[in-house]
């Protein structure tokens, strides 16, 4: 299953709820304001680093760049992708759950 998270972890509880219910081996895509969770040096870095042990985590590069960040600022292990990659992720998994 693919989980999508589009909200900043600083502002909302969506990422935390997603992590509570996602299965080992599931994929999680961070996009829109959700990309702030993918960055090194924030209060959430530990949470994400821990989550990487259980999930495949992706982050949408156009959203990262729009917000003034670069792919080298992403936590190691989180995979950068683009809209085409987003489409592939959806196609590869059985269902998508949006954590709105």
């Amino acid at each position: 299953m693919l989980h999508t998270v589009n909200k900043s972890p600083f502002d909302r509880n969506s990422l935390e709820s997603c992590l509570r219910f996602a299965h080992q081996g599931h994929s999680i895509l961070l996009f829109e304001d959700g990309v702030y969770g993918a960055l090194k040096g924030t209060r959430f870095e530990t949470l994400l680093t821990e989550a990487l042990k259980s999930y495949n985590i992706y982050v949408l590069v156009p959203d990262i760049e729009a917000r003034g960040m670069r792919t080298d600022g992403i936590i190691e292990g989180i995979k950068p992708t683009d809209y085409a990659g987003f489409v592939d992720l959806v196609a590869q998994t059985k269902a998508v759950q949006a954590w709105l």
Binding site: T4, N6, F31, E32, D33, P62, D82, Y83, A84, F86, V87, D88, V90, A91, A95, V96, A98, L100
Partner: protein, 130 residues
């Protein structure tokens, strides 16, 4: 593969419609089929032909209309959500005694059953919202 897209927010206020558009475009470019784009909640406001965005900004409504034209997309606006928010086509306007309608080219108004059908008929449903 056959996708369905659900858009829950209006144009400009949230990024949902932008993301849904970029996703839909990318899916089409990869050769996937879009069974339907369904607009619900404030998402119905993406179908207004009366928007006049600043010249240096994207035109969200036109962008959808053009994509629909090019790829024969089925873009459906939820009738119940549209009535609440003032998005009408000619028939709906007449039915409710309104003197104007505001739906843009390429969109059609229909019931929520079209969303369920999209869930059944497509292989993947992707939701964009707030």
């Amino acid at each position: 593969m056959k996708f369905a897209i659900l858009v829950n927010e209006g144009p400009y206020q949230h990024q949902a419609s932008d993301s849904a558009y970029q996703f839909t475009k990318a899916a089409l470019e990869k050769g996937h089929e879009i069974f339907r784009v369904f607009f619900y909640h404030d998402g119905v406001n993406n179908a207004s032909r009366l928007t006049v965005p600043p010249q240096d900004d994207r035109n969200i409504v036109n962008r959808w209309s053009e994509l629909a034209k090019e790829h024969h997309l089925d873009m459906v606006v939820c009738i119940a959500a549209a009535q609440r928010r003032g998005l009408l086509d000619e028939k709906e306007a007449k039915r409710h005694g309104k003197d104007a309608n505001n739906i843009a080219e390429g969109f059609r108004i229909s019931g929520l059953g079209q969303l369920i059908e999209a869930g059944i008929q497509s292989e993947r449903l992707v939701v964009f919202g707030d």
